[in-house]
């Protein structure tokens, strides 16, 4: 049976809540002061109410003015403030690449970048690769080459591919392997990912798709 819209909306929300609770767990661990790192009474009292900062941010060509807490990552701001859930939370430690976005055209981990540090920057997310309602060339290439199994890493893989092709439209296999190395795929779809990047390169040049 096809789920109705309400149900799919609810399941999307619960998926978000699940990741929120994961993030809260990670934050909880950070609250435990390491041994030998006990609080120094001279330390600045942490603000009891969150300090907020207003930042300009251009995302997929659209200008936003966001009010952010300094501790929010760009990943958090994109997903929770702007609702752009194409950018995925994975390790949240700069190790897996699921959160890859372009900042001023360069591939970066959104989980390792404070939103406030991205002030004034131009961000491209997976949503920005769309051509209207159609998939963009990189996305199409991943689908056509079957370059995933579970698909969770795919948004980040697609962003790394986009970043690579913008600076090097005709990459060698070695270059693809190096430039895609910051994105892990636990399903091991790497050979197909290399093919997808090659196909995307050819599609971007107007080749046969």
């Amino acid at each position: 049976m096809k789920p109705n819209d309400d149900e799919s909306e609810r399941s999307a929300l619960s998926r978000r809540r699940f990741f929120n609770s994961m993030a809260a767990g990670a934050g909880g661990a950070a609250l435990i002061a390491g041994p030998g790192e006990g609080r120094d009474p001279r330390l600045e009292a942490p603000p009891d109410r969150a300090e907020t900062i207003r930042i300009p941010l251009t995302v997929n060509g659209r200008q936003h003015s966001l009010t952010v807490e300094p501790r929010w990552t760009l990943l958090y701001a994109l997903r929770e403030q702007l609702g752009l859930t194409g950018t995925k939370p994975g390790c949240e430690r700069g190790e897996c690449g699921a959160c890859t976005v372009l900042i001023d055209g360069q591939v970066r981990y959104a989980c390792m970048t404070l939103a406030v540090e991205a002030a004034g920057a131009s961000i491209t997310t997976l949503e920005g690769l769309m051509r209207g309602e159609e998939l963009g060339p990189v996305q199409q290439a991943f689908a056509q080459e079957d370059a995933f199994q579970c698909g969770y890493c795919t948004p980040g893989q697609a962003m790394s591919a986009e970043g690579l092709l913008r600076k090097s439209p005709n990459p060698s296999v070695d270059e693809i392997r190096e430039e895609m190395s910051g994105n892990l795929c636990r399903c091991g779809a790497y050979p197909h990912i290399v093919k997808a990047v090659q196909r995307a390169a050819s599609m971007r040049k107007g080749g046969v798709s």
Partner: protein, 324 residues
């Protein structure tokens, strides 16, 4: 979610120094190591002082004397791709290219790469180890296959930087600014061995800032490279690595610098290997002697003895490549 902290964006080096002088303040340059440490509770921060907007700390440029000046905020990607560095200081450009992943090389700065905290799993984990003010190094009796074979005394971590040994092999200097003014010191005296103080990796005092790296003009006949051995083909810290810079004229090694990564709590200069090369022709005999000398005084732990033949083979291979 990270815990709360105050955020200040410094408008000048002086302001960064003032803002970061108080306890609990941490400098953010690229931020990749800082955020990782905060996320894992390695340390906490009440105030983050961002220096990422300081133009005077950016850029890579030739100096009037024919050397290079690298701002502390130059990214690893910038250094890896810089034409002059690739041509005249290949050990450094190759080391920057071999570090981390494309995403992190776009974010990580050379200053942060030199100042990053250790990756030791006891230090990063929930262990009150000597580097966190405790009284023991858990690697001695624990899992130590990635730990050091030189210079461990009280702490057996390895320094995680790839660029540090390259800069050491290039006799780089670093400029440090603090409340009392600026000083320029050889990079060799920037790093602190655990026998001196196991709780810090470098000579920076609170409120001091590493602002730039200075390279002398390359020696006549200079050639160099960085070799890195990892468990996987990309995106990993070095099991071991070697930055080698040689000045060769009329077939003879006039000056040799061999600096190793992955073997000690600081980037490790092998003066033994250098002495085995100085004044020699770079032939098979000299190469084998230098590779043997590089590991002569190694003191492995229970699980990292493999690093001795690995370093030896890597140095031999790297020197052979430079001889070819």
């Amino acid at each position: 979610m990270l815990s709360q902290f105050a955020y200040r964006k410094a408008g000048s080096v002086q302001e960064a120094i003032e803002l970061s002088s108080r306890p609990g303040a941490r400098i953010l340059a690229g931020g990749s190591d800082l955020l990782g440490c905060l996320r894992d509770g390695v340390f906490s921060a009440d105030r983050i002082v961002s220096i990422s907007g300081l133009k005077e700390l950016k850029g890579v440029a030739a100096t009037a004397g024919g050397g290079m000046r690298i701002g502390a905020l130059a990214t690893l990607a910038e250094i890896a791709g810089h034409p002059r560095l690739r041509q005249a200081y290949p050990a450094l450009a190759q080391a920057a290219a071999a570090a981390a992943s494309p995403q992190l090389r776009n974010q990580g700065t050379i200053g942060g790469n030199l100042c990053q905290r250790p990756r030791c799993w006891y230090f990063r984990g929930d262990f009150p180890c000597a580097r966190k003010g405790g009284d023991t190094c858990y690697a001695i009796a624990g899992e130590n296959q990635l730990h050091c074979i030189f210079g461990g005394e009280g702490c057996y971590m390895v320094h995680p930087s790839d660029t540090a040994p390259a800069l050491l092999a290039l006799d780089a200097k670093v400029r440090i600014q603090g409340r009392k003014g600026a000083r320029t010191i050889p990079l060799a005296s920037f790093f602190v061995l655990p026998s001196v103080d196991p709780r810090r990796e470098n000579a920076l005092a609170p409120g001091e800032l590493l602002t730039e790296i200075l390279l002398d003009p390359p020696e006549p006949g200079a050639r160099g490279l960085y070799r890195k051995v990892r468990e996987r083909g990309a995106f990993d810290f070095a099991l071991v690595g070697a930055a080698i810079v040689l000045a060769i004229s009329e077939g003879t090694v006039k000056k040799a610098r061999v600096a190793l990564s992955g073997v000690a709590p600081v980037p490790w200069r092998s003066e033994e290997a250098e002495a085995a090369l100085a004044g020699k022709k770079l032939d098979q005999q000299a190469i084998a002697a230098a590779a043997a000398a590089a590991v002569k005084d190694a003191e492995p732990l229970s699980g990292n003895g493999y690093k001795i033949p690995l370093v030896r083979g890597m140095v031999e291979d790297a020197l052979s490549a430079l001889a070819g």
